[in-house]
Point group: C2
Chain length 465, copies 2
């Protein structure tokens, strides 16, 4: 049973603005609005107005005139929630917003729970669960990459991928279960080789989605970049220079939230999570050795490694460090070798560094962090490293932890199917694993869900959405 | 010449919200919106849609899908600014808001100056200048009293008052100037006694408006309340108790701004500006005497004086202080005598205090500030003291500094007229003073204005209004 009560909430950002919007949704949304709204011109009730129209008038509480407002009327099922919706645009004083809200509550609406408008949109079939979840991500996304990811998911790109997977699995299960019905007759409707191929294909798809989470999560929370190098090569200076760069870039973005973690930098629409590390050097000091070990272990978490070297050093010193780091990186990680202190570089070191044979995942750039020379080139390299990453991982990228966990479960189930085929287990076990996999995919789109899961998903939404 | 360019701005509170509204106004508002908006269903251009309708669709920049939005279309002259207006309701991420704004700028709109929407409403004759000014006050008002004042002014209550004054002055000037035309014939169209009566009436009206500013300003910025009394009677405890009261009251108001001056307390919709003072006592210490003098001088600024006394003291001590303060107050000021420490009071002191003969502007209450006993009674007395004040000053209350200054000038001009009549100056001097007075009133409603004045008025508005 869908809750039919009429809910209301302030939907715009809290605080004072030129205007604010208060939203009502539910079976009685228009009736409740009619109790507090007096049309300015026609005197008509909102109930008598056509859908998708706006009306000027005033909100009055007994004798007190609260505000002059614009009211928009939407009618079920053609609205965001699929219910009747009234949106009241009022002057954006906190006092007025609060007063109108109080008035609506007094006249039969109740305050919406966090995300309840979106939850109703899901329950009324306006979007599936993964799309509903993306609404929160769209609102929270603060850079181009995260926005694109969330927007694609909200518009159903991810759902399409999941539904294709489900179709393939259903085809698979149909064949297996058909054999099950004729178990005593030992027929084989599905060629075992073909079955295995289909299973492998599904396994690959699931594996790709599971693996895309690392990148999706990175896009959402910032691409992890490790800044490594010997002591005193200018790592911190570089980090500060990049942070300054950020301040210049974000300062013209109105109202950008300030409570970012110190080291997340938004460079031309992509968030990078830089972590500075202890300088690497050969030492017998036990404590310092521990610190250096930690640097190496941090390398593993990085999608991109910025290896900072000092161009004032002779080439062999630089080369040794480069080789050391190269050995420690895996194929997925991008390496940017940064020759710092360009202003006082040893010429020969530069020449020899330029001669290094770089592979596809490696780049070289000379900068002077202190003077901010060539910093733009470094930023471009960072951005192209990410684009390479995104291009590598094709269309749909998973960024939601819930989806990731479900997809891992689905992937494990399909791996058991594959194992089962190879070890020749009976069809009923196969069918059970496939059904489990189908069940998981249904949890993502919300075909299979329960109150608790919904509560958990929507509790992190803001009120008014 | 009115600027016809199309302006745009984010009109909702800055920051992340469920939704945000971006507003376009100007001759090309609809054309600019049509360049970035693709209708979801009909595919129709907004230019082909009727006024006062809303439309679902998407905002697209080249290949990038920015957001799914609801767009409202208003057509000149039936809009807030009197021009074509398009309001775009988007998902409230800062990224999306910024992107849509950038897109509109790229397609021919320019960023609105602070208050430019309201300024256009004034220039297009949708409201007079004092109403336009009230829009900012409506948005800024954070309590019921300030809201009522601003709303009354925005709805034209103040303009009506000014226009009535102008009508009376015009009647007056017509008579005087008629006499001027027939100066050589020594006719007297206007009976001098009647003229004087009319001038007096106008003077009284202007004086009332000028005087109302003190209250208007107090309502806007907090009613000034002095807390006075001897040392150690519990003045600071009382102030803290009242501040706590406030926290309890404002905590359920969503998004209330936090950067209030420490001692402004919002009690049931009215702001009070409490100032604690140095304790009064007889002393030979020169420095302390200076502090006490300052306390007395602060008394003058207070609309309400809270005289805190200690019920543990014998009555004569209390009575002496009450008489001392009573002597120092003027007729306009309200006095609330607070008997504190009710929990350990001397019974006789209470009995004798209750026997004090209070006038209309005086009240008595017994409390225990520390235990918060009877604090509600004290709050009620504060509120009724203000209501008495507001009731005293009839309808329209001036709260705008610009209006106050102009009204003072107008009042001085009319005083000169009165003086002139009594001293028998010639009609041309009389007429000049009257015309000056008319000029000032025209400055309030904006019939007489200039670019500089407008710039000054609207620069303190927020962008988007």
């Amino acid at each position: 049973m869908i809750d039919q009560s009429t809910i209301c909430a302030i939907s715009t950002s809290p605080g004072v603005g030129a205007i604010a919007v208060i939203r009502l949704s539910g079976a009685d949304a228009i009736a409740v609005a009619d109790k507090v709204f007096k049309s300015g011109k026609s005197g008509k009730k909102l109930a008598d107005q056509p859908a998708n129209t706006v009306h000027f008038g005033k909100i009055q509480s007994d004798e007190e005139m609260i505000d002059e407002v614009i009211v928009a009327v939407f009618k079920a099922p053609h609205s965001f929630t699929g219910e009747d919706i009234v949106e009241i645009s009022c002057h954006g004083s906190v006092y007025i917003q609060q007063k109108i809200l109080e008035l609506l509550l007094k006249n039969g609406a109740r305050l919406a729970f966090p995300g309840e408008f979106t939850q109703r949109a899901f329950l009324n079939g306006k979007m599936d669960l993964s799309q509903a979840e993306a609404v929160a991500d769209v609102i929270a996304s603060s850079n181009a990459a995260a926005h694109k990811l969330a927007m694609n998911q909200m518009r159903g790109g991810f759902s399409r991928e999941i539904n294709e997977l489900r179709d393939q699995l259903l085809h698979f299960t149909a064949m297996v279960e058909l054999e099950l019905d004729f178990a005593e007759e030992e027929v084989e409707f599905a060629n075992r080789t073909q079955l295995r191929q289909l299973t492998e294909k599904i396994e690959k798809l699931l594996a790709r989605l599971v693996n895309s989470f690392q990148l999706g999560n990175a896009i959402k929370n910032g691409i992890p970049v490790a800044i490594v190098g010997e002591t005193n090569v200018g790592k911190s200076t570089l980090l500060n220079a990049l942070l300054n760069e950020e301040k210049a870039i974000v300062s013209d973005i109105h109202g950008t939230t300030r409570d970012v973690i110190e080291d997340v930098v938004n460079l031309h629409g992509t968030a990078f999570r830089f972590f500075d590390t202890a300088g690497i050097r050969d030492t017998k000091d036990v404590i310092e050795t521990l610190g250096i070990e930690r640097t190496y272990s941090k390398l593993e978490q990085a999608a991109i490694v910025l290896l900072v070297t000092d161009l004032q050093n002779p080439y062999p010193v630089v080369a040794e460090r480069i080789n050391d780091i190269r050995k420690r990186l895996n194929e997925e990680q991008k390496l940017i070798i940064v020759g710092n202190k360009l202003d006082s570089a040893i010429h020969d070191t530069m020449v020899q560094m330029e001669a290094i044979d770089l592979n596809d995942h490696e780049k070289l750039v000379f900068i002077a962090a202190k003077q901010k020379t060539n910093l733009n080139q470094l930023v471009d390299l960072l951005l192209s490293a990410v684009n390479l990453h995104i291009a590598d991982s094709q269309d749909v990228i998973v960024s939601n932890v819930r989806h990731y966990e479900i997809l891992r479960n689905a992937h494990n189930a399909i791996l058991r199917v594959l194992e089962g085929i190879d070890s020749g287990i009976t069809n009923d076990f196969l069918a059970q694993d496939i059904r489990e996999c189908l069940h998981y995919l249904g949890e993502i789109t919300g075909e299979i869900t329960n109150h608790e899961v919904l509560g958990h998903i929507f509790k992190n939404f803001c009120i008014g959405k």
